[in-house]
């Protein structure tokens, strides 16, 4: 049986032949036992599959799917935050939020010190400009307490996200602490951190936007969504962001390196060209870096 015969049988079963071709095929069936056997066998299997029950989701599966899609596409209507478990993004935003809150409190304290309005304004401005995270938090502010803090100090951007750790504790930090960590607070972008199975730094070329898009597409193509954005990531970003000369850091993706969890980080120095680094999550050790 050649390929043309195979296609003829498929066409015959699929009803794609015109009447003349169909008559010819039926005549062939009558006289060619091998052709007929193949046709009968193929028809029987096709009928068996056509009659198979259609697969449908259970009610639970359907609800799970809808909820997951709306969550991942950010289509979920606003819900009371107390009843919503913290998302990956919120969890790793939390410590940064506390730093922003601490910065706001510190600025407020400085304003109230009897050192003259000009000095106070300078310090408050320093806090604002050295805390890029604060700007990001502004649009997500849900905590009225944090809002009060910012009005007191005039540092309107110093708003903590919902779910941030105890702000009073953060507010107890010394001014020195805030200045040191504030200078390198990680800059946070408002998207979920994608997970890509493998990252080849040599292939990460182009602008930061290109790299970010590439990560999202790789994660999307791989269909992966590993949740490695845990406390290790928070700690690693805080460490990197707190390093001297670093203006901002941004987690672009989680991945694996030599069997260990790792993170791809865009690092923007105060001066010079941004770069992209690969760090292990356990020890926050750099295992590779390329220019972004």
């Amino acid at each position: 049986m050649n390929v043309r015969d195979q296609e003829l049988i498929v066409d015959l079963i699929d009803g794609r032949l015109d009447s003349r071709e169909e008559q010819a095929a039926f005549a062939r069936l009558e006289r060619d036992a091998e052709f007929r056997a193949a046709y009968e066998s193929q028809s029987a299997i096709a009928a068996l599959l056509v009659d198979a029950p259609a697969a449908t989701m259970t009610t639970t599966e359907r609800s799970t799917l809808h909820a997951a899609l709306k969550r991942d596409l950010h289509l979920e209507p606003a819900a009371p935050t107390a009843a919503t478990p913290p998302s990956r993004r919120r969890r790793w935003l939390a410590p940064i939020g506390s730093l922003a809150a601490a910065a706001a409190v510190f600025a407020g304290l400085v304003v109230m010190l009897p050192r003259g309005a000009d000095d106070a304004a300078d310090v408050a401005m320093d806090v604002t400009t050295t805390s890029p995270a604060a700007e990001t938090f502004e649009s997500r502010a849900t905590d009225p307490k944090a809002g009060e803090l910012s009005t007191t100090t005039g540092v309107q951007e110093g708003v903590a996200p919902a779910g941030a750790p105890d702000e009073s504790a953060a507010g107890e930090s010394s001014g020195e602490d805030v200045e040191e960590s504030g200078a390198g607070v990680a800059e946070v972008q408002g998207f979920e951190i994608p997970h890509v199975p493998v990252v080849d730094l040599d292939l990460l070329t182009g602008s930061l936007d290109d790299v970010r898009q590439s990560m999202l597409e790789q994660a999307s193509d791989a269909g992966a969504s590993a949740d490695t954005a845990d406390g290790r990531l928070d700690a690693c970003l805080a460490t990197l962001g707190g390093s001297p000369g670093i203006l901002s850091v941004e987690a672009l993706a989680t991945t694996a390196h030599d069997g260990a969890d790792a993170v791809v980080v865009a690092i923007t120095p105060s001066e010079g060209t941004p770069s992209i680094g690969l760090y292990t999550l356990d020890t926050c050790t750099e295992v590779g870096r390329t220019q972004g």
Binding site: D14, R36, Q42, L48, E61, L73, A222, G223
Partner: protein, 191 residues
């Protein structure tokens, strides 16, 4: 263009303008068929649900790149099949990994609800033995009722390739399931 195809295009346009209801309608219109393709391809309900989620995420995240020359459903099932290929590749890689210590294979869902859509076990096994590209072809044509041209568009291969894959898939299934060729008592064999 079918009414469904026209409606899908309108829903995509509405979704791109931020209409969440359009999103809901699109998902509801296609979720069972996408899930069906994924279930028959992956043969595991949890994996199929994960894959279905990935399919819709991919489609909605790339909705702005949807070219209206093709039917939305063709694009959707293309993404579904490719997503299943990816899952199968990952499954293959993970096959040697040990199961979790407290692995519990029991499915808490109602058995009756699941039984209603299960294939005969021997058919499941026979389908599982097919190469993914043969499985997808026979699945789209015979189980999803797609035309050969539709399957070719979805799989991005020539129609002739689809015919060949369908033929070979059915032949292998017949071999696995026993001889489906007519016996000597069949009327066509009588003189």
């Amino acid at each position: 263009m079918t009414a469904r195809a026209a409606e899908d295009r309108e829903l995509i346009r509405r979704y791109l303008t931020g209409d969440v209801e359009a999103f809901d309608e699109l998902v509801r219109a296609h979720e069972d068929r996408v899930f069906g393709v994924c279930l028959r391809m992956l043969q595991d309900r949890d994996a199929a649900l994960d894959a279905t989620q990935d399919v819709f995420l991919t489609v909605f995240r790339k909705a702005d790149r949807y070219k209206e020359q093709a039917a939305f459903s063709t694009w959707l099932y293309r993404v579904a099949v490719n997503t299943c290929y990816d899952h199968l590749r990952r499954q293959k890689r993970k096959r040697t990994e040990a199961l979790p210590e407290h692995f519990d294979p029991a499915d808490p869902r109602g058995r009756d609800e699941l039984d209603a859509v299960e294939l005969r076990p021997d058919i499941e096994v026979a389908l599982a033995a097919l190469k993914p590209e043969f499985r997808s072809a026979v699945l789209l044509v015979d189980m999803e009722g797609m035309s050969l041209e539709g399957a070719a568009d979805t799989l991005q291969v020539p129609v002739g390739t689809v015919k060949s894959r369908v033929f070979r898939a059915r032949k292998q299934l017949a071999d696995e399931l026993g001889n489906f060729a007519p016996g000597p008592e069949h009327p066509r064999d009588e003189p």
